[in-house]
Symmetry: C2
DNA sequence: TACCAGCATAAAAATATGCAAATATTTGTA
DNA sequence: TACAAATATTTGCATATTTTTATGCTGGTA
């Protein structure tokens, strides 16, 4: 594999490497979503949401469609959901490690029997 | 999903967001690999390889085993290969876009009929 | 035209990441 | 003990990413 392609793949994963962007993609599982709606879900201000969307757009992960003054976003390739599903499985397989790292991150870990979404 | 877990997932993807680290994981498909071997494959100096391995280790993506003075690395959960496989499929589905971005990155794109690895 | 809503982009400050050079650590061996 | 090999960690610095805040653009409507 050539250098540029490697860099490109890395960029792709890097685009997924942000909490807000992961939430955005997860939200888009249910179909199109306007920036406003995302803003509510993410509890972030409009500008920040737009910026994160720009990152996903630049990596061709999402597409946008304008209707009047509102813009709807959707995932370009639904296969990305499979990707996230597998990632979730990996997390579940290593729940114990995950907890350790969460603790490290300053979180409280998961409650008894609580699953990862 | 709580904040800390989101951050953790993001960290996971961020760990994959580096060309060298992707090559390392791909190399580990064939099984264990010593740092030396990785050094050769990556054409990077020892220190840099160790640093990248440290990132993967900190995210629990790889494990290491010491035998004498050499350290062997392996992937913790083979399911990560599935993850990369799906990512590859996504890339292939969007070859044209990919090419555009590669060009943007200064690469030469893919040759005629050349597949992505 | 004037104005507002909904998004996008820009600019600046804070934070994190990547990289290279130097230094440490660990293990085996003379 | 002294030394070499293999790997890890640290340090300093350049770059990139994140976050906030401010500004710009476009489409609808009075």
């Amino acid at each position: 594999m050539q250098q540029p392609l490697r860099r490109f793949k890395a960029e792709f994963f890097k685009a997924l490497g942000h909490p807000a962007r992961l939430v955005i993609i997860d939200q888009l599982r249910e179909g199109e979503c306007s920036v406003q709606e995302l803003q509510v879900v993410l509890e972030m201000d409009q500008s920040s949401v737009s910026q994160q969307l720009a990152v996903l757009r630049n990596k061709n992960i999402v597409d946008s469609r304008k209707e009047g003054t509102t813009v709807f976003y959707r995932v370009r390739d639904p296969m990305i959901f499979q990707l996230l599903d597998i990632a979730r499985e990996i997390f579940n397989n290593h729940l114990i490690d995950t907890q350790a790292i969460l603790a490290q991150l300053g979180g409280e870990g998961l409650g008894d029997g609580e699953a990862l979404s």
